[in-house]
């Protein structure tokens, strides 16, 4: 459904990545993992058509509006939670009552039904991120781009949101691209990993994690999870 062919991106004389070739199937949950400055956010922006390739080309699926979540919640301060989420609705063909139904449904999913009339300055960091995620998810989007969305949150909220995102993905099976520099987060969330190992950014790797189907909470405590985290950390440091 989405394909990159001989893709490369250069900033001035430095190549962030070169000769990337991969195919993404509908419903894949892919984490793009690597150290800061390796080009993972740039790759995400290219996939979301916010940036362009220097080399190669990208084959996008048929016209569809994706959802995008930034590291900051990026809410409009003068709009309520309800109105901020409404921005994510791209179909002008929907009636007001259909829009309203969709917004209420997604606010219930992200546990913000009671906060619909609040303004962003009245919300906690975790709640703001929930609004941002709701805005990205609304309208049953088939592709979701997330750029380190949980990086600024504390562990408790982060774990909670990770589990909720995973549950939502299991139910709706949209394609997810998730940028992170956390090995544990990427292993916990994704099926596939795109690795930018430290030191030599051109040695791009694609890994299928082949995870067993356990509940998110159990999986975080399983030996399989710790084994994968160790293995991926070694790969990132170039030990494998």
């Amino acid at each position: 459904m989405l394909e990159l062919k001989n893709a490369g991106k250069r900033f001035n004389s430095r190549w962030l990545f070169q000769n990337l070739n991969f195919q993404v199937q509908t419903g894949d949950f892919i984490s793009i993992l690597g150290p800061s400055g390796c080009g993972k956010s740039t790759l995400l922006r290219i996939l979301a058509e916010l940036d362009t390739l220097t080399d190669g080309h990208i084959i996008q699926p048929a016209t569809t509006t994706p959802g995008f979540v930034f590291q900051e919640s990026c809410l409009l301060p003068w709009l309520t939670v309800y109105e901020n989420v409404a921005i994510g609705i791209s179909k002008n063909t929907l009636t007001n009552s259909e829009k309203s139904d969709q917004i209420e449904k997604i606010l219930k999913t992200v546990k913000l039904k009671d906060a619909a009339s609040l303004f962003p300055h009245q919300l906690s960091g975790g709640m703001k991120m929930r609004v941002s995620i709701a805005r990205a998810l609304i309208n049953n989007k088939s592709i979701l781009f997330l750029d380190e969305p949980f990086a600024a949150l504390d562990d408790f909220i982060r774990f909670e949101l990770q589990e909720e995102l995973l549950e939502y993905w299991k139910q709706h099976k949209m394609t997810v691209f998730f940028v992170t520099h956390s090995v544990t987060e990427s292993v916990f969330l994704s099926q596939k990993l795109w690795l930018f190992p430290q030191g030599d950014q051109l040695q791009f790797q694609e890994l299928d994690l082949k995870k067993s189907d356990t509940s998110p909470h159990m999986y975080r405590q399983s030996p399989e999870y710790f084994k994968l985290v160790t293995e991926i950390s070694d790969r990132l440091r170039g030990k494998k």
Binding site: A48, L50, G67, C74, P77
Partner: protein, 247 residues
């Protein structure tokens, strides 16, 4: 209001000291008239003073409204079309550097005596802060928010109305506050050459050495400026209570 208490006390004390010094004959009322003399002058010339005050107040408010409409519209056009911005904005900066007192006689030649010249003079002075501030606001919107609107495939006009203009609210309002003071200056400069209002009253009082009338007119001008700022602050409070504009 508590923040203005020291200023208010200072004015009350200074006025009282001047009054007392004047009563005991240690003050030259010809140079700086005490408050009681100014008040007597205003009462004595009530009709002409109030008429001049009203003319200046009306033209200041009208010129501020016109400057807002013109500056805001120009900023929107500049923001939508970079070529027009690059062609016209440097000229706006250039004309901003020319003192209004040098332009005002030219305006009389073009537009004649009367309110049209005074309005033109005031708009000329007060339009730039609104234009420049609005433009800064429109051009400094958070990059991620602009990208978000791009991802959701919003048109330029939708981005302008739903993101850029509300996101520039504080810049626009700051420009408006600066311009409200400048509008009064522009009106007085226009009245000096085109006649009417407190500006003309100051000019004629100067030629008659009526310093008490000049002071009364100056206090009137300060009141007009204060009224405009208070009105703007109230409007701002009413708007931001409903919508917390701040990016």
């Amino acid at each position: 209001m508590k923040q203005f208490l020291p200023t208010f006390l200072l004015v009350v004390v200074a006025t009282a000291v001047v009054e007392i010094l004047n009563k005991i004959g240690s003050w030259d009322a010809q140079l700086i008239p005490p408050a009681s003399v100014i008040l007597d002058t205003v009462i004595e010339n009530k009709e002409s003073f109030l008429s001049a005050f009203w003319d200046t107040l009306k033209l200041s408010a009208q010129s501020l409204a016109l400057s807002f409409a013109l500056g805001f519209t120009l900023a929107i056009i500049f923001s939508l079309n970079d070529w027009i911005k690059r062609a016209v904005f440097p000229l706006a900066i250039f004309f901003q550097t020319v003192p209004i007192i040098a332009i005002a006689p030219l305006l009389v030649i073009y537009l004649g005596y009367g309110p049209q010249t005074i309005l033109a003079s005031a708009v000329f002075v007060s339009v730039f802060p609104i234009l420049a501030n609005t433009l800064v606001g429109l051009d400094t919107i958070n990059k991620n928010l602009l990208e978000l609107f791009k991802v959701y495939k919003r048109t330029s006009l939708q981005t302008l109305f739903y993101l850029k203009i509300p996101g520039s609210y504080h810049f626009i309002f700051s420009g408006l506050k600066i311009s409200s003071g400048l509008a009064v200056i522009g009106v007085v400069a226009g009245e000096f050459v085109a006649g009417g209002g407190l500006g003309s009253l100051i000019d004629t009082s100067r030629t008659q050495q009526r310093i008490d009338l000049v002071f009364a007119a100056l206090i009137g001008l300060a009141l007009i400026g204060l009224c405009q700022i208070m009105l703007l602050n109230t409007i701002n409070l009413l708007i931001t209570r409903r919508r917390p504009f701040k990016l």
